[in-house]
Amino acid sequence: MLPAIAVKQVSKRFGAVHALSGIDLEIHSGEFFALLGPNGAGKTTLINIIAGLSLADSGSVSVMGHDVIARYQQARSNLGVVPQELVFDPFFTVREVLLIQSGYYGIKHNTRWVDEVIEHLDLTDKANANMRALSGGMKRRVLVAQALVHKPPVIILDEPTAGVDVELRQTLWDFIQRLNRNGHTIVLTTHYLEEAETLCNRVAMLKEGRIVALDSTQNLIGAMSTGKSLQLRLQPDTLPAELQPLQIRHDGGMAELHIDHYAQVESILSVLRSAQIQILEMHLQQPDLEDVFVSMMKNGGNQAK
């Protein structure tokens, strides 16, 4: 099947800085995809090149099979982008902005869909307010709405939840998930890794302009070498001899034991019981995307696939 976004050998320099070095990436139709990486890793540069806001020095990009340079009109018609910066046009009201944006995409009477988007993003009360009068969170909603006026099959959100309250985050993700279920391809960047973990099927991690990890969210987490662990605060604070080999560290009165399977928890507890050691506090740690992220960023490109 035709990939929603195909990035081939894309490189981009800004002066002496290699913002992107030979990026290869295919995002499939219908995916919910996360692009992760620390600030300055090249996420926004990559998005800008896909959107045509930046021009790659070499390599090619296509959206729904349309080259973003040679067939820029078709490529852009298939793409909706929510930019990271909170930009707005101070001359117009929310509804005007959305109808004007529809017109740019060649859509004349878009009132019905615009009203639907306004409603789904909880903007109904502000529909006739000037953009200047809106709070930051409201402006962010309008940005999302603007990216959706032409019902693009591919939607890119560049840190859509940065500085946004919990309620909007919830509204936004509900709406975006619904779009994804209806077949829209979603690409997002975020600094909230739990968001990426719950929402996305697949993740690419960028570091210094290179992809250092590209796999399904599950595989990435599953491949974490640290595995699961059990943290225990014990009374008295001494670990029975047979549990000693499992200990990874012991600090602040907290012993951390390595486990491979959840079934081990039962046997650890029974050893403690028979040794008459009391458990004051217990945490079960399992690796999440954040651990993968931290390890990737530490180890550099060693684990790149």
Partner: protein, 251 residues
């Protein structure tokens, strides 16, 4: 075409919503120029035989207002969008660079026309100004404001901050306007200055525009028309090229 018409509509709405600043204010300042020059010079200068100085001056001032406002419209719209960042809404859309070019240029022509027409209508209340060949005048208004709209677009795209745009306006547009024969006929100038005036494309816009009023001009209106048209084509090609390559817009 919907995309083009939408952008044109947006550009028109943009200046219409701040009409006091974009239409009324330039009308007032142009009329102040007229009042002052009328008071000081009316009795002393006769440019063309039988044409009073004020009558001669009015078309020049009208064209000056048109030029300045056509330039201001495209340039300020572009630089405001760039600096506030909302230019991305245009850059993300499938609007062709031709559509972007024509929308900005036509909006500039409309604003130039509105201000020019406004000034002309007000002066008609006080002065008797002939308009012998209105089609000629209209032709030069459209071509002249299109050139200035394109120059405004170039300046707006090129400038990274308001300071640079102001420099473009004050060191290029303003001298070219003031030295183009708004206030005088170049026949009154020494030979050297006459030569330099002939290198100034704005001179042909104003001379041709004035021809529409009096049927008299410093040089043949056909030559002026040709030169103005060539300038428009050249500047338009440059502007379209900048939009196509994404100069300073797509990094």
């Amino acid at each position: 075409m919907t995309g083009f018409f939408t952008l044109l509509y947006k550009e028109l709405l943009r200046f219409w919503k701040v009409g006091f600043q974009t239409i009324i204010a330039p009308m007032v300042s142009t009329l102040l120029y007229l009042l002052i020059f009328f008071h000081v010079l009316e009795a002393h200068v006769e440019v063309y035989p039988g044409v009073a100085y004020t009558t001669f001056l009015i078309p020049g001032l009208v064209m000056m207002a048109i030029i300045q406002n056509a330039f201001a419209n495209a340039s300020s719209s572009m630089i405001q969008s760039k600096i506030s960042g909302n230019i991305v809404f245009i850059l993300l859309s499938p609007l062709s660079y031709h559509a972007i070019f024509f929308a900005y240029i036509i909006a500039s022509i409309v604003r130039g026309l509105l201000v020019g027409l406004g000034v002309y209508l007000v002066t008609l209340v006080f002065f008797d100004i002939p308009l012998m060949l209105p089609v000629w005048s209209l032709l030069f208004v459209v071509l002249g404001s299109a050139i200035l709209g394109a120059l405004g677009l170039i300046a707006g795209i090129w400038a990274d901050k308001f300071d640079q745009l102001a420099a473009f306006q004050n060191f290029i547009i303003l001298p070219l306007t003031f030295l183009s024969g708004v206030f005088y006929t170049i026949h009154s100038l020494p030979a050297g200055w006459q030569f330099f005036s002939h290198l100034n494309p704005f001179f042909y816009m104003i001379d041709g525009f004035r021809y529409g009023f009096f049927g008299v001009s410093d040089i043949s209106p056909y030559l002026s028309l040709l030169i103005v048209a060539i300038c428009l084509v050249a500047i338009s090609m440059l502007t379209i090229r900048m939009l196509k390559t994404g100069y300073k817009l797509r990094h």
